[in-house]
């Protein structure tokens, strides 16, 4: 067993390197009050799983994968909370948008963001990870816990659906322009 001090030093290094990116990830998806909690919880999980956490360029996508679960948990808690509030009487209340809608609703390009919001949650996440976190498909595979091939397919499908939802024409060329890739591992 690694010593406690060594483990904490390792955690501190990971935290220093990636906290800001993880925090931005969470702020993009949750209200500030929840985003802080979610980001902290990501690193608590990282500590528990520090032995299996990838190193180098793969660490951040892996942390994004954990963050995805944490954000999901918080959204689920919020839904439960709303369910509890709706418990009485079966009367429809004013719509209470989830935290993701509140966050995205404040974005500047509401048309494109609305198109994004209309996608299935998994498609939304794929597009966000690519556009906002700037992940390559290789990194996307790490974050989504799937193979690179599956990540490519998911990405292509999500972009197709986004294009359809936003009413954006597909590129008119025989060979699609490859999406910009960054730092594969």
């Amino acid at each position: 067993v690694a010593s406690g001090d060594a483990t904490r030093e390792k955690l501190r290094a990971v935290f220093d390197a990636h906290y800001e990116a993880v925090s931005r990830y969470c702020h993009r998806r949750l209200p500030a009050v929840d985003a802080n909690d979610a980001a902290a919880r990501v690193f608590a999980v990282a500590w528990r799983k520090i032995e299996e956490m990838p190193t180098g360029d793969a660490a951040l996508p892996w942390l994004y994968g954990v963050a995805r679960y944490e954000v999901g948990s918080i959204r689920r808690s919020a839904r439960r909370r709303r369910n509890l509030q709706e418990k009485l009487g079966g009367h429809a209340r004013h719509p209470n948008p989830g935290p993701e809608n509140l966050v995205v609703g404040g974005s500047k390009d509401s048309e494109l963001m609305q198109a994004l919001l209309s996608l299935r949650p998994q498609d939304q996440e794929v597009v966000r990870l690519r556009a906002l976190e700037g992940l390559s498909t290789t990194e996307l595979a790490v974050a989504m816990s799937c193979s690179v091939e599956a990540a490519k397919k998911r990405s292509a499908r999500a972009m197709k659906r986004l294009r359809r939802a936003a009413g954006v024409d597909a590129p008119h060329r025989a060979t699609p322009e490859p999406v910009e890739e960054k730092g594969s591992t």
Binding site: H27, R28, L88, L112
Partner: protein, 649 residues
């Protein structure tokens, strides 16, 4: 547009892009790391991936293969129903595979590491955290649910199976013992449904195999016959009231309860069932539910309409130190607007009991006013007295703190808040309530409530309570807004206009919802002249930062027409933008109450009778917005004066 371009367009809209400033509420690097350390210290003392199982575990690993072959048959038979029995499970009594009784040892023999895993499982389940449950399962873990006849045994559904099973369940993993190569635990379930029926918590037997800190196998068995009976009773209740579309689904309760739709329907009917089960007649419960829903959704008028004429609202109990407040119909709407609409207070009756005349509910409140409390929830008790025409009295003890059932802690103690913080920071309140002693000079009236709500967010911030930014407005911004309102009320539109920036935009959502948008100059001038002619007065109750640089203010708006009608003050929402140089750069005005519309209807009905056609001449048409022609502005005060004279005559 290709994919890369589309992604770049999305990235361009990212307000949290690298290099941009995160919101001021985001934790600093050090602050966040301290939190992580606290989480690490408080949750799991040992990283799961590095649990040292020692010699015993190596024996476990050797036995694991044998277990797979034998335990499915043997341990399955060993499951013992322990419903209503909290004593440790004696698996030796029925197990056919226990060849050495000595291997069954008391709970104390469960290794600390195994207990850690079980505790983590319990916590994850109870907070509905499927991801955390999955983390505890080995990659090839097998999960079996025996009693329902559903045996998913599929890893991918394990977390959902574990956490989505039943609405409002909490588990306690008790009385574990080692039997053969498995750990057998008695798991107690405490859920909303059982509680509503007055049943004791029910039990299951979980048999687990834990290898290297991960659960490699979990089998669930137990006698849930009591719960099945209860479900049948519940299904009968629902079917009788025709309240569920597919009552047959109730029979397949486990599957049904796993679906979000099933949980929602279940929760809805459970609430009704609970109320009825506690003896509240459905009609009374319906009235209470209507009231709760109206307030929590910000529909103050709907809540107000549920009171009988002369009905009263007591925000605190009569013997409470804040007992002076009794809200009658004159000021109730304002109070409700502030507390439930503006500050987003949600108010949920949790359990109710009573009869056709009196209903008492335990309640749970959340919202800004409860941020300082543990769990950000206040508990209390509300007593509704019901007459033939609606509520004759509602006594609300919600503004109390801490602990289920309503305690008497200090979290919501306004006196403590004032005495410790108010004198230097809230002169307006200090004036109303010097030193927080005795009662405020004018009682706990609307003005006092407004003052509380104005300062409370700042009090929370200064006491390191995380307040959502939308509740905060800077003092400088507030000064501009106060000056604007003050000059407006002075009745000189020229002075008011001087506080608008040269390119200010004014949007007025006037009568009937027609929107007038003025960019500058004449339109703004006319708008303010219109208000001035009517001697309009704004009262700002409370302001909070909204999205972007907007500041939303709530208040009331009176003018001659409204005042002279029988409808009283009109609710008002103003959205300001302040340009940082002491000027208002944007103002939208939205009457948010039907009062103003009703008052103008009243006025125009009189106008039609007294001066047929004048409504058209004035260009003022209810339901169609208003036109601010010069001649109309000149004619309007004359007609208003005539109207007043008629009323007074």
């Amino acid at each position: 547009m290709n994919d890369a371009q589309l992604l770049r367009r999305l990235a361009h809209e990212d307000e949290f892009a690298e290099g941009t400033q995160l919101p001021s509420t985001a934790w600093s690097h050090d602050e966040a790391f301290q939190t992580v350390q606290r989480l690490v210290d408080l949750t799991d003392a040992t990283p799961l991936g590095r649990i040292d199982f020692g010699r015993r575990n190596r024996n476990w690993l050797a036995a694991a293969a044998a277990f797979v072959l034998v335990a499915l048959v043997g341990v399955g038979i060993a499951f013992v129903s322990t419903r209503g029995d909290s004593t440790p499970v004696d698996t030796t009594a029925t197990s056919t595979t226990t060849t050495t009784p000595d291997t069954t040892t008391p709970e104390g023999s469960i290794s600390q590491q195994d207990r850690l895993v079980l505790d983590a499982l319990e916590r994850a389940y109870n907070r509905g955290d499927g991801a955390a449950v999955e983390e505890l399962l080995a990659a090839d873990a097998d999960v079996s649910l025996l009693p329902s006849g559903v045996t998913p045994s599929i890893v991918s559904v394990a977390a959902r199976t574990m956490t989505g099973d039943f609405y409002g369940e909490d588990i306690s993993i008790n009385d574990c013992s080692v039997a053969d190569v498995a750990i057998v635990c008695d798991v107690e379930f405490d859920d909303d449904f059982s509680r509503a029926l007055g049943l004791e918590p029910w039990h299951q037997v979980w048999t687990l195999q834990i290898v290297d800190g991960a659960i490699s196998r979990l089998e669930v068995d137990g006698d849930d016959a009591a719960r099945a009976d209860a479900m049948e009773q519940f299904a009968g209740f629902v079917t009788e009231r025709g309240g569920v579309e597919e009552p047959a689904l109730l029979a397949g309760r486990l599957e049904w309860n796993r679906t979000p739709a099933g949980q929602a329907v279940y929760a809805e009917h459970l609430a009704r069932f609970t109320a009825v089960a506690n003896g509240v007649p459905e009609a009374s419960f319906q009235l209470v539910a209507d009231f709760h829903n109206a307030l929590s959704s910000g529909d103050v008028a709907a809540a107000e309409a549920l009171f009988a004429p002369g009905g009263e609202y007591h925000p605190t109990e009569a013997d409470d130190e804040l007992s002076a407040a009794v809200y009658s119909s004159d000021d109730r709407a304002g109070y409700f607007t502030l507390w439930y609409d503006w500050f987003g207070t949600d108010w949920v009756p949790v359990t109710c009991e009573g009869d056709a005349v009196t209903v008492t509910c335990m309640t749970e409140s959340s919202g800004l006013m409860t941020l300082i409390l543990p769990g950000r929830v206040a508990w209390g008790q509300v007593t509704y007295t019901i007459g033939p025409d609606g509520f004759t009295s509602i006594v609300d003890r919600t503004v109390r703190t801490g602990g289920s059932g309503g305690g008497t802690g200090n979290g919501m103690d306004l006196r403590g808040f004032w005495r410790s913080w108010m004198p230097e920071n809230a002169p307006e309140v200090e004036l109303l309530w010097p030193g927080g002693n005795g009662d405020p000079e004018n009682g706990f009236d609307l003005e006092f409530a407004r003052a509380v709500l104005e300062y409370y967010p700042r009090f929370l911030v200064e006491n390191a309570v995380d307040v959502p930014p939308e509740y905060l407005v800077t003092p400088d911004d507030r000064t501009v807004i106060d000056r604007f309102v003050e000059t407006f009320n002075a009745g000189d539109p020229e002075v008011t206009l001087s506080l608008l920036s040269p390119d200010a935009e004014v949007v007025s959502d006037q009568i009937g919802g027609a929107q007038r948008r003025g960019e500058a100059g004449d339109t703004i001038d006319r708008l303010f002249r219109f208000y001035a002619i009517q001697d309009s007065r704004m009262t700002i109750a409370s302001c909070a930062a909204a999205e972007g640089s907007e500041i939303d203010c709530r208040g009331t708006f009176t003018d001659i027409v409204v005042e002279r009608s029988t409808f009283g003050e009109a609710g008002l929402t103003l959205t300001f933008m302040v340009d940082g140089e002491g000027l208002v750069s944007h103002l939208s005005v939205n009457p948010n109450s039907p009062t103003m519309f009703a008052a103008y209807d009243f006025f125009f009905n009189w106008l039609d009778e007294a001066h047929p056609g004048d409504g058209d001449i004035l260009g003022l048409v209810t339901g169609g917005g208003m036109s601010l022609q010069e001649d109309a502005l000149e004619l309007l005060p004359i007609r208003v004066e005539e109207w007043i004279a008629t009323l007074e005559g």
